[in-house]
């Protein structure tokens, strides 16, 4: 039975992607663009040259981590929409370690990454704690925490961290950077960084945690049915908090990677980057499994980075790719609800007979 389900999620994902791309090409056709040229530019421009491949991996890296963050919360029946904010506080924390502490090269980087992860975990702990202890809806708190993080970071960057006469902070020193020479050289000096390795390790960690440990079993049990889990002697509150903390930690690593690997500095932001929100779509498409999340993140990475090239080569506005992304989410969500309904019906029938 579980085998069947697994297969159908892959099939669901593939069918959804296929349908979404058809929708996208219809949209392009209507808008007067050539969809074949557009898709060719999209994939060629994101995968076939070392530099572009590197940048695609760089785009994919935070998506894997934000996808994992959303997925692990989903598994415990929680909706962590606060990944965006957790990323921002993590960036802030990593930045502080980067520019305010003086440590030897490798150690500096490790401390900066870990502090970023912990900052994200703390930002995830707050909604988790309030949900568990006070029963407050985590979605609302997470959204509010996003805004607190965004504006807090803006205030700190502007009034404390920015260089004289600019609205961005100084760059972090080499010793804290996640970029390493051999990776940059391999990908024609693109900004691919060690974050991808962290992301893959975390996907593995999540697999082990959820499916190979007692704690993970508890987390999933709470997700399936909190009342039943409590009846079985599982501490539901503790698991809710733990799930949000781990989720926040993953999101924090995504933020740390973006700061220490990609950007190297923070600037005043007028809006969210959307990487955290894309994580929701990644988790959904990846069916909340580590492998699924990695593959879905790769697809979103290709679509996001490749859409820039699509504009460059085929003059197709990148907004059309957002149509494809939205359509993928739409089809996956619709199909998942269909499967769920089917499963519920089957269970009922089984009960009746």
């Amino acid at each position: 039975m579980s085998q069947l389900n697994k297969q159908s999620t892959i099939v669901t994902a593939l069918i959804s992607i296929f349908l979404a791309m058809i929708i996208g090409s219809i949209a392009m056709q209507v808008a007067g663009y050539n969809p074949f040229a557009a898709y060719q530019a999209l994939f060629v421009g994101s995968l076939f040259q070392a530099f572009d491949l590197g940048e695609t991996i760089r785009t994919t890296t935070p998506l894997i981590l934000t996808g994992l963050a959303v997925a692990i919360a989903f598994r415990t029946g929680l909706f962590n929409i606060g990944v965006e904010g957790q990323m921002i506080v993590a960036q802030l924390a990593s930045l502080l370690v980067g520019i305010k502490l003086n440590l030897p090269p490798v150690l500096h980087m490790i401390v900066a990454v870990l502090v970023g992860g912990i900052a994200g975990a703390i930002w995830g702990f707050i909604p988790g704690f309030l949900k568990a202890v006070r029963g407050v809806n985590e979605v609302i708190i997470c959204i509010m925490m996003n805004f607190i993080a965004l504006y807090l970071s803006n205030v700190l960057v502007r009034n404390w961290l920015s260089e004289q006469g600019t609205d961005s902070t100084p760059k972090i020193p080499e010793s804290a950077s996640l970029r390493v020479d051999f990776l940059s050289e391999m990908f024609d000096s693109s900004r691919v960084h060690l974050g991808i390795i962290i992301a893959l390790i975390m996907a593995f960690v999540m697999y082990i945690l959820l499916w190979k440990t007692k704690r993970g079993y508890e987390l999933r049990a709470v997700g399936y049915n909190p009342s039943a889990a409590e009846y079985a002697g599982i501490n539901v509150k503790r698991n809710i908090i733990l799930s949000m903390v781990i989720s926040g930690f993953f999101a924090g690593l995504a933020g740390a990677g973006e700061l220490l690997g990609t950007q190297g500095y923070m600037a005043i932001q007028s809006a969210f980057t959307g990487i955290g929100f894309d994580g929701i779509a990644v988790a959904l498409l990846g069916a909340n499994t580590p492998i699924g999340v990695i593959l879905a993140a790769l697809l979103f990475g290709v679509l996001t980075y490749g859409s820039q090239n699509m504009e460059h080569v085929a003059q197709v506005p990148p907004e059309l790719i957002r149509v494809v992304v939205a359509a993928i989410i739409f089809f996956v969500a619709a199909n998942i609800s269909g499967i769920l309904l089917g499963a519920v019906k089957k269970k009922r029938r089984a009960k009746e007979s």
Binding site: F48, G165, T166, D167, S189, E258, Q263, Y265, S270, T273
Partner: protein, 342 residues
């Protein structure tokens, strides 16, 4: 196990396909155009932002028409896109790559360092005084232009209450504020300036509510330096009595947004600057590695002509402009200088 080997087969076949495609693509992609080529990378505002990026693109389009320059633009969706977009143009060996906005002050030196033979231009930043050899940094003396807007506002107000709406409170936008307040002070010491920041360049609703509060509190002229937020100001002023409540636009002539209520606009001629510098580079009259600070002398700033400004006001504005050019007035750039201003 079976499933895994199937997956591996799929992956390897994709890779083979990929390798095949990549070689065929490289042959067709390089068209060798001998002419001068310009690339423009926008910040996250996009090409049709009714403001900064749009005027820059106007300048590029003028270069295409008059100088037969090949032009192309790339819009950035996120801050992370700046480096790959600049790199894309650099790898095409474009002769000048323009980056619009101070958000590029970190990415530009990074990419310029990697492509020492390509020229880059950045608008609105002096790169902290350290301009690489292949970069031209262009800034404007916005405080001086805003000073004139302040003069126009101070001489038009009846209530002696004037408003200023800023975007994000960064040093650049503070420059507008300081110049504007100094202008008001110089032309009409009795007038008071209320200052508000939207902390956004896109939040139209916030702009409208800030403007509404100010007008309700007796303010009758508002100047904004807030990008898209300013649309809210114009939406609000349109609903009010003609000839009594005014808005002053920024960057380009914004009178189309509220024709009967726009006193004037503080115009930053980014298009002229981009056109002129591109031309000079093409004719090899200009060497890169410089910081150009453009003002009235280069005709890079000024107030848009408007039928709503009386001749007296226009005369006064012109007087102050001449004083600034001659150096008789030193317009303050930030709050500290404003405090010591007269």
């Amino acid at each position: 196990m079976k499933k895994r080997s199937w997956l591996a087969l799929m992956l390897s076949s994709v890779l083979v396909l990929a390798a095949g495609c990549s070689t065929s693509q490289q042959g067709g992609g390089n068209d060798k155009n001998a002419g001068f080529k310009l690339g423009l990378v926008t910040d996250t505002g996009g090409l049709n932002d009714q403001s900064f990026n749009q005027i820059s693109w106007e300048g590029a389009k003028r270069a295409e028409k008059e100088l037969k320059v090949d032009i192309k633009a790339l819009e950035s969706k996120r801050d992370e896109d700046y480096v790959p977009n600049l790199t894309k143009f650099a790898r095409e060996k474009r002769d000048i790559i323009w980056a619009t906005g101070f958000k590029f002050e970190k990415p530009i030196p990074e990419v310029a360092d990697q492509f020492p033979k390509v020229h880059f231009g950045i608008v609105d930043s002096n790169l902290g005084g350290k301009v690489p050899k292949n970069v031209i940094a262009v800034t404007f003396k916005e405080h001086e232009g805003s000073f004139l807007a302040g003069v126009a506002a101070a001489l038009t107000t009846k209530s002696n209450k004037i408003g200023y709406i800023g975007g994000i409170s960064s040093p650049l936008i503070k420059k507008f504020e300081s110049g504007f307040r100094a202008g008001v002070q110089a032309a009409n010491p009795k007038a008071q300036v209320q200052v508000a920041y939207a902390e956004s360049f896109t939040d139209v609703t916030k702009g409208r509510s800030l403007a509404k509060n100010m007008y309700n509190g007796g303010v009758d002229v508002i100047f904004h330096a807030s990008g898209g937020v300013g649309k809210g100001l114009f939406d609000e002023v349109k609903t009010r009595e003609k000839g009594k409540f005014w808005a002053i636009g920024v960057d380009m002539d914004q009178s189309a947004l509220a024709p009967d209520h726009t006193l004037t606009s503080m115009v930053k001629r980014v298009d002229t600057a981009i056109f002129n510098i591109t031309k000079d580079l093409k004719d090899k009259k200009l060497e890169a590695g410089k910081h150009l600070d453009l003002g009235f002398k280069e005709d890079a700033l000024g107030l848009a002509d408007s039928k709503h400004m009386s001749d007296d006001v226009k005369k006064k504005v012109e007087e102050f402009k001449q004083k600034i050019i001659k150096g008789e007035i030193k317009v303050p750039k930030d709050e500290n200088e404003l405090k010591s201003f007269k």
